[in-house]
């Protein structure tokens, strides 16, 4: 399957979805006006990937700032990963956040409480 790499902009994060190397990352800031338009490609890629995933999928999220609509899209991504987990695949979500950023830690905790999938909080 083709890898998906989206370079970051001032409003959108960097996305690396590389099934060959087993690298799944979304990093940076996410404040696009059309979040659904931006994340649709990501969601479609994960949907396709979930049909035959690797033995273990570790998805790294390291966002410094994101708007509410991006948050909903992130939840949609988490739901897809949760579905993969429920289907018996090994999935780990790693939520990296700035150790000084209490809000981002709290956001990670919110997601963690909402999801039924291994969700690790990683202060950096």
């Amino acid at each position: 399957m083709r890898n998906l790499v989206i370079e970051p902009t001032s409003k959108t994060p960097k996305v690396i979805l590389n099934a060959d190397l087993g690298v799944f990352e979304i990093t940076g800031r996410s404040i696009p006006e059309d979040a659904i338009g931006f994340y649709r490609r990501v969601l479609d890629w994960i949907e396709e990937y979930s049909k035959s995933p690797l033995t273990e999928t570790v998805f790294k999220f390291q966002l410094e700032y994101f708007n509410t609509s991006s948050s909903k899209c992130l939840l949609d991504i988490f739901r897809k990963l949760e579905r993969m987990h429920k289907n018996g695949h090994k999935v780990v979500i790693r939520w990296h956040y700035d150790a000084d950023d209490e809000d981002m830690a709290e956001t990670g905790q919110d997601y963690q409480a909402l999801l039924d999938v291994p969700f690790e909080l990683v202060p950096v």
């Binding site: 659904i36 708007n67 509410t68 609509s69 948050s71 809000d103 919110d110 997601y111 909402l114």
Partner: protein, 153 residues
């Protein structure tokens, strides 16, 4: 589907299906029970999502408010600094004007002095010229003049 709806596409689709089922109204009690259970499940899920999003939106608003307050403080500080700089500039402008006036006065005096020096030089040249003339070309008259001055004649 509008942008707002597309963020909740799955939920909208489920709601539409539930409405169609309710309008049809041909289900058995067991089917109704199952559908109602599913509806509760989806509603709970949606409620949790709404709670998370509301919480995050509140956090973001607080961050924005904090940033706005900081900007306001910086704006005031910059404004004060600007006022100070403007005052300094006015003082410096006054000083420059004063110096310029002083320079003009000095130029005037220099000009006057130069003119005076020129006049003195001209007079000196005239005196020296006359002296030279009488000394080398009209010596007799010079001797008579000196004698006259000394009272010898």
């Amino acid at each position: 589907m509008s942008t707002k709806e597309s963020y909740f596409a799955e939920e909208s689709t489920f709601l539409l299906e539930a409405r169609q089922r309710a309008e049809k109204g041909q289900s058995t009690t067991e089917e109704w029970r199952q559908a109602y259970g599913l509806l509760i499940e989806k509603y709970e899920e949606l409620l949790k999502v709404v709670q998370v999003l509301t919480h995050q939106a509140t956090q973001l608003e607080a961050k924005l408010e904090k940033a706005r307050a900081q900007l306001e403080i910086q704006k005031k500080a910059l404004s004060t600094e600007l006022e100070g700089l403007e005052r300094q500039l006015q003082v410096q402008q006054k000083e420059v004007t004063k110096k310029a006036q002083e320079r003009d006065i000095l130029y005037d005096r220099m000009s006057q002095t130069r003119m005076m020096l020129l006049v003195i030089l001209a007079v000196l040249l005239l005196v020296v010229g006359f002296t030279m003339y009488y000394l080398f070309w009209d010596t007799d008259r010079m001797i008579q003049f000196v004698k006259k001055v000394r009272g010898l004649e």
